[in-house]
Assembly symmetry: D2
Homo-oligomer: 343 residues x 4
C-alpha cells in the first residue's frame, strides 16, 4: 500500500482524485489538506464519498505530508511550487495537477501565469506526465507535472500526424470544447447554471494558458517549430472535452486510420475508433480513456481529428493516478478500470 | 394585412414561425397545414400558442393555399418543390424554409439530397434569401429559398473577409456547434435528452448538406473558388448556433474591427460586438440577430470570427419573416422586435 | 409615456424587467441604478439588450428617482424599505419585487428575514400585488408588494378550492420545484452548473420565507386558519416553477374543472387547461401566464392541482408590469403579449 | 464464476446492467440477446463498453440461455412472463427487471398493464426483490421480480414510519421526480432534449403503474390498508429519482432520526443522512445507494421524507445485481462498490 497525501482536495479535480484513490487497491489515503475546510469531514463536502473516505480535511502540514510516499497537489496554480522542495528533500514523490511545472521556461511561465516561479531549478527535473509520450521518464521521476486537460486531448490527437511527410505544422488549429467543471468549483457568476446552461461561447481567443503548453509539447515531440491556433469554448455540460483538430496534409495516399491504430496499439487508455466514427464525450464520462477518430475532410487536403476525454479523469485526476501507477511500478491500469457512465 | 399560409407547421421551425407570425402586426394567418395532424388545434400541439393561434391544422389543400398572398413551407426537404408551381401560377409568393431551392445546380442538389429535383426550372428564379447579400433581389422575388441555419451563421461571419487583400480562400474552416432543435421535432434515439445531454460530439464530418450551400454562397459573393472544411457538432442545449471560423490572412495592417463594423453598419439584424468580445448564443435566444466578433489569433496569421444566431430564428423562421417583410415592402424589422430571453 | 426607474437592475428579475419595459409601448425608462455597476452600460452586462436599452447603470440617487412616476425595486430584501418613504412623499409610486412589504406583520417579517423592518408604518398601506385577488386595491395603490414566485404559483392553484364545501384546509401540501434562476445572479457554489445540473434536491424543508407569505395569502382570502406544508426543490433548468398542490376534499360531486374555469374565466393571465392535462413549465417560458390543471387522485379524496409559471415573469417582473398597468389605468396586458418560447 | 445471460440489453437498464456485470468479479457474461440488434457488437451500440464487453447481441435463444445459471430480463413488460417457465424448468434462476412478476394479483396486473398474464401460476412463487424487506426470501428464490424505480425510492422512505404509533396511513403522498432515462431508450418525441430539457412537468396523475406496486408493498409490510396519492414528474436530467414523501404523524415525541438510523443501520445500500439534510440525486449517480433524510415540517404534524436513488442502479440494474449476489450467496456488495460520479 502506497501512503498518499492530497493537498487541496476541495475542488473538482480533488474530489475526482479522491474517488479514484478510494477505489484503488494499492493506495492508503493518509491526509487530505485544505486550509479553508480544515476540520470538515471530506464526505460532508462531497456526499458521494460517504462511507468511503473517512478522513477530515486537515491543515496543510509539512510534517504529515512528509510521511507520505506520494503527494498529489490538486491546488490552484502557484501552490505546489512553494511546497515542493522540502517534500522532495524528505523523499516524497510529487504529482502536481496544476500548472506549476508544465512549462520548462520560467520566463514563459511568468508571462502566462503572472507570477514569478518560486523554484525554477526544478523545472528541468520535472517530467511532463503524458504517459503516451514520456512513460519511461515518468517511471523514474520524483516530480511529475500532470498535463492540462485541453493539452491532453489536443496532443494525443495531433501526435501521430506530426512527423508524417506532407504535414503542414505551420497552421494547426485546435477548436476545443469543454464542460463547465473545467472552470473549477469556485463561486463565480459566469459558471452559474443560469448563465451558462442553454448557451455556448468561445473564451480566451486572445490567448489561453494552455496554448504555450500544447505548443511546447508538440514542438518537443516533433523537433519542429509549430504554429497553432487554439480556441477553447464552454459547452453546457458538466464533464468532457471535445477537441476538433485541423491540419493540412499534402499526402493523399497516407492511410490515416492505420497510422493512428499503429501509434496507439499498445496504449491502454487511448482508443482509436473505427474509420468514419464520431466519438461522444459521454463515452468517456468518468473513465480514463481518450477516444479518437481521424477523417479527411471532403474535397480538401485537411485532416480532421476528433478527440474526447473526461477533463477530470484523463484530463486531470485519472492521468495523475496513471502517472502514480507508472512511478511506483504498479499495473498502469490499477484503479482505473471504471467504465464510463452511459447514459 | 397579408394573408399567409404555413405548410407543415408541426416541427420546430413551424412553431417558431407561428409564434412570430402571431406577433406580427401585418399578418393574418389563414391556414396551417399538416397531413398528420389535420384536425388537431395548433395550440393543442404547442401550448405556448394557447389563446394566440386559434386555427386547427388542416389538410394541405391547394385551393385554400392559393387564396393566400404568401405561403411558407416549413416542411421536410422535397415537399415544396412539388407544390410550388401551381401556387406560383396562382399568384402566391413562396418562402421555402427547407432546402429545395437553395442550390442552383440541380445535379448538385440531387447528389446531396438523394432525390431528383421536381422543378429544376425554378432554381434559376429562386432567390437565396440572405438579406444581407440579396436584399434587392428578395424584394422582387416570387420564390425565396430561405438559407440553412449553419449557412447563415457561417456566411455572415466570412463575408467581410472574402474580398480583402491577403485572404487565403483555399482553406477556410468553419467549426460549427448547434443546439439539438436543429435536428428537428421527430422521434429519434440520437436526440433523446438521455442520449445527447451531458455529451458533445461532431457529426457529418465526411460530408454535410450545408457544405455545398455555404460554398456556393461564398463563391457567388466573392467570385472566387473557395476551399472549405465544415464540421458541425451537436451541443447539449435546445437553441443556438455558434460558428467558429478560421481564415489565414496575409495582411497584418488591416483593421478587422473597422472592416466588420463598416460592412454591417446598416444591417438591422447583424451586430458586430466590440473588439475582444466573445458572443454567447443566449444573447440571441428567440431573437433574429446575428452577433459577431472578430479576432486575430495570437502569434499567428489566422483570423478567428465568432458568429452566433438562434438556429430557429435568424437561422430559419425569423429570417423567413424578414424576407417576407422585404418581399411585401414592410418595415424589415416588423414583427421581429423581440428581445432575446436572458437568462 | 410613464417615466419609470428601476433600482437594482443587475439581477435576473432586473434584466427580465428591463426586457419587458423595453418592449412596453407606454413606458419611458429614465434610470437604472446599481451601486456596484454604476457607469457600466446596461447592454454590456446583458447583451440581449444591445440596441434596445441605451442607458448605463447609475448611482441610486433619490433626486433622479423622484422625477419618475414609478420606481421598481429589483433589489435584495431590505433595500426598498429604506428608500420608500421619501420617494412616496415625492409622489412616486413604488413596486417592490423583493419581500419588504409582503408580510403585514412586522414581527413576523423580522422573524423570517432576520432584520428589523425599517418602515413598519407602510405595511398596512402596501397592497399585495396579486391582481387575481387584489385588482381593485392595486389600481388605487401607491405602494405595491409584488408577490414571491412560489407564492404566486401556489396561491393561484389553491384559490378556487379554499371556500369549497368539504375542503380540509388543515393540511395543505405544496410541493414546489423551481429553476435555478430563482436563486438569483450572485456568485455561489451551490448554483454552479457543475453543482446543480444533472441533480435534483429539496431545500429549506425546515422553513422557507415563502411559507408565511403563502399562508398569509390563503388565510386572508379564505378567512380561515390554514395548515400548510411547503417544500421547495431545485430543478436543473434556468426558468420555471411547477407547484404540485395537494388538498383533501370530502365532496365527491364537485365539478372541479368547472370550478377552476369559472374562477379564472376573465383573467387574462391565468389559463385553466382542459381536464386531464399536465402543464409544462416551458409553455410559459418568457410569458406572463400561469397555466393550471386540476385532478382528482385515483382512489382517493385528494385533489391534485398542477400550476406552472415562469418564475421571472408571472413570478416577478411580468407580474410587476401587470401591476404597473393596473396602477396607471393601462390595458392590463400592455407589454405582456409575448408568447412563450417553445422549444 | 456465475454464468449469466441478459435478455434485451439494448435499453438503459440493459447497458447499466452490462456495465455492472462487466465490473463484477464473479460473473462471466455468456450472452446478451436482442432480436433487433442481433449480430451487432454490444460495444458498437454502447461505446463506453469498448474493450470491456466483447460479445455481440444474439438472437434470444432458449438453448443458449438455458446454459446460464442466471438470466436477467431487461426487456419491455410482457416478455419475461413468456420465457420464464422453460428456463426455470432448465434450472436457470431469473431476475426480471420489468414488471411481469411484481404484482401478486394477476387481475390487478392485467388492469394496469393491459394484457393477460401469461403465467399467473408463477406469481406466488416470485419474490419481490427489495432486499431491505425480503432478503431471506430472495436468498432462496428461483424467480425475483426486481422492483420498479419509483417503488424502490418510495418504499425505502416510508418503511420506517409504517408501524409507528400515530402514523396516518390513509393519505400518504409520494411526490416523485425522475430523470428522463426512466422513460427508456426508445425513439419518442416527448423525451427529445428539445422537448423536455428546460422544462418540468407532472405526468400520469390519473394513474401510473407504479401506484399499485407501491401500495402492495406498503400494505404487505404494514399489514394495514394504505391510501396513497402518487404523482410522478419528469425533471430535465438523465439519471436520478427524488421522492418527497408526506405522512401525517400524531406523535410529537418520536425521535424520527433515531427511528430511521435504527431501521437501516445494517443495510449496506441505505444511507440515512444527518438530521436536517437534503439529499441530492447526484450523490448517488452511478451508485447503488438510497440516501434518505427525514424532517418534521414546521408548525405541522406532517413528516417529510426525502429519498434519492439512481433510477438505473438502485432503481433497476444495481438492485438486480444486489439480488443476484444474495441469490448466489456472494457478498451482497460484490461488484457494487462504485462511487457516485460527482460532479
Amino acid at each position: 500500500m502506497i501512503k498518499v497525501g492530497v493537498v487541496g482536495g476541495t475542488g473538482y479535480t480533488g474530489v475526482e482524485l479522491l474517488r479514484l484513490l478510494a477505489l484503488h487497491p494499492q493506495v492508503r489515503l493518509q491526509a487530505v489538506t485544505s486550509r479553508g475546510e480544515a476540520g470538515t469531514p471530506v464526505a460532508e463536502l462531497f456526499p458521494n464519498l460517504r462511507g468511503r473516505v473517512d478522513l477530515a480535511f486537515s491543515e496543510p502540514d509539512a510534517g504529515c505530508l512528509s510521511e507520505c510516499e506520494l503527494v498529489f497537489f490538486a491546488t490552484p496554480n502557484g501552490i505546489a511550487m512553494k511546497m515542493a522542495e522540502p517534500l522532495l528533500a524528505a523523499g516524497v514523490k510529487l504529482i502536481d495537477l496544476a500548472a506549476d511545472f508544465r512549462l520548462r521556461d520560467p520566463e514563459l511561465w511568468q508571462d502566462w501565469y503572472g507570477m514569478e516561479h518560486a523554484c525554477p531549478g526544478l523545472l528541468e527535473e520535472a517530467v511532463y506526465g503524458l504517459p503516451e509520450v514520456n512513460r519511461d521518464a515518468i517511471a523514474g521521476a520524483r516530480l511529475v507535472a500532470n498535463p492540462g486537460c485541453y493539452p491532453t486531448a489536443v496532443q494525443l490527437g495531433f501526435l501521430p500526424l506530426l512527423d508524417v511527410v506532407g504535414a503542414d505544422l505551420s497552421a494547426l488549429i485546435a477548436d476545443c470544447k469543454s464542460g463547465v467543471s473545467g472552470a473549477g468549483r469556485k463561486a463565480a457568476v459566469g459558471t452559474l447554471l443560469a448563465e451558462c446552461s442553454e448557451s455556448f461561447k468561445a473564451y480566451g481567443v486572445p490567448g489561453h494558458r494552455h496554448l504555450p503548453e500544447i505548443r511546447q509539447g508538440l514542438e518537443t515531440y516533433s523537433g519542429r517549430k509549430v504554429g497553432l491556433t487554439f480556441v477553447p469554448h464552454l459547452t453546457p455540460m458538466i464533464r468532457g472535452i471535445h477537441a476538433t483538430l485541423y491540419l493540412r496534409l499534402d499526402n493523399a495516399d497516407l492511410d490515416l486510420q492505420a497510422l493512428f491504430e499503429s501509434r496507439y496499439r499498445n496504449e491502454p487508455f487511448v482508443d482509436v475508433l473505427p474509420a468514419g466514427s464520431h466519438p461522444e464525450t459521454r463515452s468517456v464520462k468518468g473513465a480514463n480513456h481518450c477516444r479518437l477518430a481521424v477523417h479527411r475532410a471532403p474535397a480538401s487536403d485537411t485532416v480532421v481529428v476528433l478527440s474526447v476525454i473526461d477533463n477530470l479523469v484523463k484530463g486531470a485526476a485519472g492521468q495523475a493516478v496513471q502517472n502514480m501507477n507508472i512511478m511506483f511500478g504498479l499495473d498502469e491500469t490499477a484503479g482505473l478500470q471504471g467504465i464510463a457512465l452511459l447514459p
